[in-house]
Amino acid sequence: MLYQVERPARYLGGERNACRKEDAGLLRVALAYPDLYEIGMSNLGLSILYHLINAEPDLSCERVYAPALDLEVLLRRDREPLRTLESGRPLGQLDILGFSLQYEMTYPQVLNMLDLGGIPLRTAQRGPADPVVIAGGPCAANPEPMAHFFDAVLAGDGEEAILEICRLVQSWKREERRTRDELLLALSRIPGLYIPSLYRFHFSRDGTIEAIEPHPQGPMGVESRRVKDLETSFFPTRPIVPTLETVHDRAQVELFRGCLRGCRFCQAGFIYRPRRMRSAGLLKRQAEEIIASTGWEELGLVSLSSCDYPHLEELLKSLGPLRAEQRVNVSLPSLRADSFSVEVARLAQGHQITLTFAPEAGSDRLRQAIGKQLLEEEILTAVEQAVRCRFPRIKLYFMIGLPTEREEDVHGILALVERLRRRAKGAGGGVKFSAAVSAFVPKPQTPFQWEPMERLEGIRAKRSFLRDRLRRMGTEAGGQQEELSLLEGVLARGDRRVGEAIFFAWQEGARLDGWSDHFSFARWQSALTRCGLEPSFYLHRTRPREEILPWSLVRFPAGPAYLWRERERAYSDPQPTKEAKE
């Protein structure tokens, strides 16, 4: 089979630092990523949990990634199950299968992997011998669209909870007369673990949620988990070195988790609160150990907004010997224009060719309204410095359809790009600009969770206008396809009825839909129609404050009252707060 598929190394495992435990009696866990190996192997969260579980002598953790279409065809033709990379075990023979959900568009691939692995798709169909199917990651902010398919969904950080889950499943497996319902009830006592099957949702005629009825012995919702002290929490210093090149083929250290900025559209900024940091000394030690054990040529200093790390310059200086003697390039993946300095640029220049900034909107007013505390002058200065540091490419991210957006804000994007080009030219030129313009998708657990999303025609008109003008200005213009954004909007704020549409779309062939060349909007439209669902119900109405939201049972540190206040401020008081309150 391997000779008939593209990039077979995706499916083989056997990489440096991969763990392979073969002893009998181990609890068999696999972490699944519903996208290709090249994408999944770059995920830091999965790497942390993989090594954390494997550090326990009686637990074994393996990996599985989504097969590309060519392998799927062969697996189905030969009736071969999808297997883990380490031991080649069919997924159905595992004890726990944990999915990482980074992006809503991967939902159909979750179903596909379950199906290929020989696991009943729905939690109600699974018996005591089937694996416990759990999920975590940013999409846990609203677990409801996948409620029928997951036994449990973990909200928040996984480092502590994953071992508690493993231990509980382990002891349940030892019991004689065990039932799955008992297990689910027991799992619901683990803080942060949401068990969708323990709740009944009642819908009213207008489609909104009338009431949520919890299981008599179950909790009423969950509080997300949070690792208190990153300094003492587990971090792998012998990560797996992939055989084939992955999207981020580099060592990674995590500077901090969470973000203080509080941009009102940013889900990550709200669900990973509060900000927790690692010390520069610890990061330096971790970086040295990782480079020694992997041989990687690049080190990513990752976090939601790396320039906001208060000890960044100290850290970069302390990494000097690693950079000079071992020729390690240091990269800073998430830069903010207002804290970008020449020193940072010079120190971190390393391997980076493209520098990315996200002005998000075309005017200071709109940026303030969405909580992006970034002034035009700061963007201009940052770009000027980047040009002086000879970065050959600068990529800019913009959103359209943001709450309170006016026509002049859209035109403002063009004006800003023009001013940036002029400033760049004045600083010596030689830089190529590109801009990604995508539709704003309101996300759960943010102040904009009640907001309507712009309609297809509006997004299309604005995008094509901007792309056309930008190209005429000599700026490459891209961004997410309009229909893809709309669908992301339905899946992000959907309820459990949307799960049926995901199921039908998967049946009709939806797979790696986050990749626009695999995406078919028509397939999704027909799946939604088949379930009697109207996309505009999820997308285009302003939800009243008192409406019960599908994700209301999953509570993150920024509660609904705070989020609503922040939403109100977007309309009434666009004045930016320098640091958002925790």
Partner: protein, 263 residues
């Protein structure tokens, strides 16, 4: 700077990696081994590591070649990292997995280089020998090679429309499948082939590249000429058989030896 030729094995764990992936695997092994690597100049500094003729995706290799460049003071630095080099003959570190090395004056260092690399190697990579050679010697890409291949799999007699059952053949004392085709191919004055690649199409004659060819009940063994401008692919050998009524279904592929000629 010193130049070290590595003779290495590519096992199953690296068989399905690409040529570039294998370059990365060796260079990262060398970095993990903390060898005093020489680096290229410029914006992206990379270890100076030159690979021999590419091994296709899906193939193991028994005697693959690469040239690794180390800094001048490599011997001294390696002493520090990996213990003293000078050992009396017969006192080699048993933990080192290398089999042998060449060059009397560099014997110990070559051996230690193998050991250091193997201790830090990616799974599927085993450095068998390492020896020094002059910097000015011809590069690996400029050499000509004789490459021996072994392909394992099963035959299908497409003309007769049935699988060739190896066990049945052997019991019946029949001739090895497709052996008459192999002989005919070797006897042919030319073997024209139309090659289609993503880069374009061209007509070429395979015959000059075909040095030896033998079929087994479940295998093909072939020796091919590889020149600096290219060679023949294993799929093309299979195609020659297929065009003559025998389809070979590949299950395993190995380049068993690679002999190079500098002139």
């Amino acid at each position: 700077m010193t130049r070290w030729r590595l003779l290495y094995r590519v096992g199953w764990d690296l068989a399905f990696a690409s040529h570039l992936d294998r370059w990365r695997a060796i260079s990262r092994s060398a970095r993990r081994a903390a060898l005093p690597l020489a680096y290229s100049q410029g914006f992206h500094q990379r270890p100076r590591l030159a690979m021999g003729p590419p091994l296709p995706v899906g193939a193991c290799g028994e005697e693959e070649l690469a040239d690794l460049y180390l800094e001048d003071d490599s011997q001294q630095q390696c002493d520090t990292v990996h213990g003293p080099m000078s050992r009396a003959p017969g006192q080699e570190d048993p933990s080192l997995r290398s089999r042998a090395c060449f060059g009397p004056e560099t014997k110990d260092f070559g051996l230690n280089l193998c050991g250091a690399l193997n201790n830090a190697a990616s799974p599927g990579l085993e450095v068998r020998q390492a020896w020094s050679l002059p910097l000015e010697e011809r590069s690996l890409t400029a050499c000509t090679y004789h490459a021996r291949w072994r392909m394992d799999g099963w035959w299908e007699h497409t003309a007769a429309g049935h699988h060739v059952d190896a066990g049945y053949h052997a019991a019946a004392g029949w001739v090895v499948p497709a052996s008459e085709v192999a002989q005919a191919l070797l006897a042919a004055p030319s073997l024209p082939l139309h090659r289609i690649t993503p880069k374009g199409e061209k007509d070429l004659d395979l015959r000059p590249y075909l040095l030896a060819l033998q079929t087994g009940l479940e295998s093909i063994e072939v020796e091919l000429l590889v020149t600096p401008s290219g060679g023949v692919r294993w799929e093309e050998i299979c195609r020659l058989f297929q065009e003559r009524g025998y389809r070979f279904h590949l299950c395993g592929l190995c380049r068993t030896s690679l002999k190079w000629f500098s002139d």
